[in-house]
Amino acid sequence: MEQQILHHTYDNGLTLVAQPMPWLESAAFSIAVPGGCRFDPQQQLGVANFVCEMVQRGCGAYNSREYIEALESLGVDYSSSASLYNTNFSGAMQAAQLNDALAVYADVIRRPTFPEDQLEDGRMVCFQDIAALRDDLAQRALQKVRMNFYGSTDGRSCEGLLETVESITLDNIRQFYATHYRPNGLIIACAGKLDWASLKSHVGRLFDDWEPKPEPAIELVPAAHGIDHIAHDSEQTHIAIAFPGVAYSHEDYYLNRGAIGVLSGGMSSRLFTEVREKRGLCYTVFASCNTLKDKGAVLCYAGTTNERAQETLDVIIEELQKLAGGIHEDELRRLKVQIRSGMVMQQESCRGRAGSIAGDWFHLGRVRTLDEVNEKINGLTIESINEYLADNPPCDFDIVTLGPQPLEFKANGISATPA
């Protein structure tokens, strides 16, 4: 399958990266502005998310209603969110509207008006983002384990706290915007039916007269590893586990990804087979690779009725430790075809591709082509993965349980309950 990746970095440091998919009638964009919640000051947790809300409540000549009408009249299916490193704006539409949609987003990103009369409605929406998570028990357990594993800067989630969001002022919002919304480090990724030359000059007209800004400093709070329990009167106990993984940019990434794929890749994967199929302990169980720019984690989750939660945790930990003993030839063979087929299926969606090439550019400063990924996947051998696993056995587990009772953690002769 042919795949062409084009890119251009303008003088101010903004990068445009694109994948033409001429067989489609649609196009999509994914914009990463280098101001994520990682940069929230401690007293203003949630400010990146609040800024993301406010830049869309008045920009350029649009008021908040006109802005949404402009997108809808172009038929743009849009979304926005703050994430750890970036604030992301993305959309998909019929191909002919791509340039007009990008022009709307140039207003969002470069010319927000921050109208004072929108501040309290915007704050209410941010409160709702916090409220939305409180009833999502699985997410709460996973969020907490991320926080414990990465520390409260890199493990934070973007909604912030009720008290910090309450105290954020319009000046704080303007300040965050002025510091972090900048062309240097900003990525615009497009995929779909597009004409590269016209796209490149259009994006240039929209953005290349924007002056770069200095790289902002960041305060990092170190991790507080351990075993934790959140008491909650629920039907199930929600178990979240984190342990060291590999960053996407690291040369061992695919070795780790391969090993975790064997653990939790498909219906024949080890966790699904041992926890759900053989023992019927839960409906949902998974492990997945999570990546920051410079480090990675493996995150696992299972939700199970309280009486069977201890057995579920024990079986999962046993499977994680067993992984150090290596994987088998047939497991690797299935994994390879799964990854290959997943990559081909992604080619059907310009939205998926735009997000994916934006992510690649952010993590690597380039895009891994299908051929390159294929080569890496085909190059995986039992020996290379097993050697990696012997050197890096799953260990140092951070565990968070949410439910009526804490669980006991037993592994390699260590036994512990939450402090």
């Binding site: 067989w23 489609l24 009638e25 649609s26 908040s64 209603r65 949404i68 009408e69 809808e72 172009l74 743009v76 299916d77 849009y78 998909a92 539409m93 019929q94 409605d121 704050r123 209410m124 929406v125 941010c126 409160f127 709702q128 409220a131 939305a132 409180r134 009833d135 999502d136 028990l137 039907e235 199930q236 890749g265 498909g266 219906m267 024949s268 994967s269 699904f272 087979t273 759900r276 199929e277 023992r279 019927g280 302990l281 839960c282 409906y283 949902t284 939700g303 199970t304 299935r334 075809v337 799964q338 990854i339 087929s341 997943g342 081909v344 299926m345 080619q347 059907e348 969606s349 939205r351």
Partner: protein, 412 residues
Amino acid sequence: MEYLQHRLDNGLEVLVECNPQAYTSAFGFFVRTGARDETQEVGGVSHFLEHMVFKGTPNRSAAQVNLELDEMGSSSNARTGEESTIYHASVLPEFQTPVVDLLSDLMRPSLRKEDFETEKQVIIEEIKMYDDQPPYGGYERIMAEFFGDHPLGHSVLGTVETVSALTPEGMLDYFEQRYCPSNICFAGAGNVDFEKLVEDLERCCGHWKKFAPGRSKAKAEYRKGFVSMHKPNSHQQYILQLAEGPSSEEEIRYATSVMSAIIGDDSGSRLYWEFLDSGLAESAGMGAYDYQGSGSIMTYICCAPEEAQSNLERLTRLQRQVREEGITQKELDLAKRKIESHIVLASERTNNRMFSIGSQWLCEQPYKTVAEIAATYESLTLDQINEALNAYPLDENMTLVVGPRDDLAPAP
């Protein structure tokens, strides 16, 4: 793009949209059976059977089924609803024959006793999982309240009690009444070798015994009212409403779905500006659900408990106002742009095309191309949308509130 069909002698329909340009192929068995076809005693059997289908056949163990699905790198799943059960897989074209072979074999499952007991535990975990998730069984409750004795009010999952009481024999009984070839369609889309497909299906499914399943399509007697479920440890309050909507046989369902997008889409709609832009609610939305013989329109709001009473009243005012004043041409034009774009984006995924073909068959509707579907929406007029608004008054509904408040009252 070419639409091809074939019917096996035993009644199994094969419907395929072939697109030689596609990178993948998607296939699915669509069975016209679901919770509405169950008796109360076997509540949840359709969904439990959907799980048991993956537990093996006389030719394959459960573990073998999982291995084969993964060996093809397939993206596969199944789902059960009020009136359908769907088994589907997407694969690279080179795996067409093995995946058709596997899916066909799965449609004649063994229902082995020991697998049955293990899987029963998984189903109970699934029920418990939803009990922990908003709206905490509220969907099942409002369906039962709204549809009353009509079978569309049956819960898809069933309860811990009904599922615990199920036996392999009871499931086999149900299977033998519902999984007959004339009640099943095989839908495909993408890069499909149709001739080979028909040959494979004749070989794998041609021997399935023919018999006649039935289904009552009587129109439901919709109930109105106000019901409260107290859930003290929930942080948010959840408001659900069901009002009458068109059935899947009625042409007005297109106008109704546009009406529901104008009022309740997740962006730019009336509910969006009233509740979401202002931050009065965490989420607010609306959707039309058509079934054979009956239909409903659901409205959903999640908000802080202290806003719940005033939001209920706002919602009722909004519903009455839109019916009195109608919607505007500008709203209709924007909704059409949105729908058009949505149709184009969705049609680019092979999997979506397969679902579209299978779903049309489930409702006994004729096949429509993407262009025909788009044209149907494009042709809608303001009068037709306002006619739908008047035919299905949103404020005449069953309302269910779930959450920490136990003192909420219907809007005056």
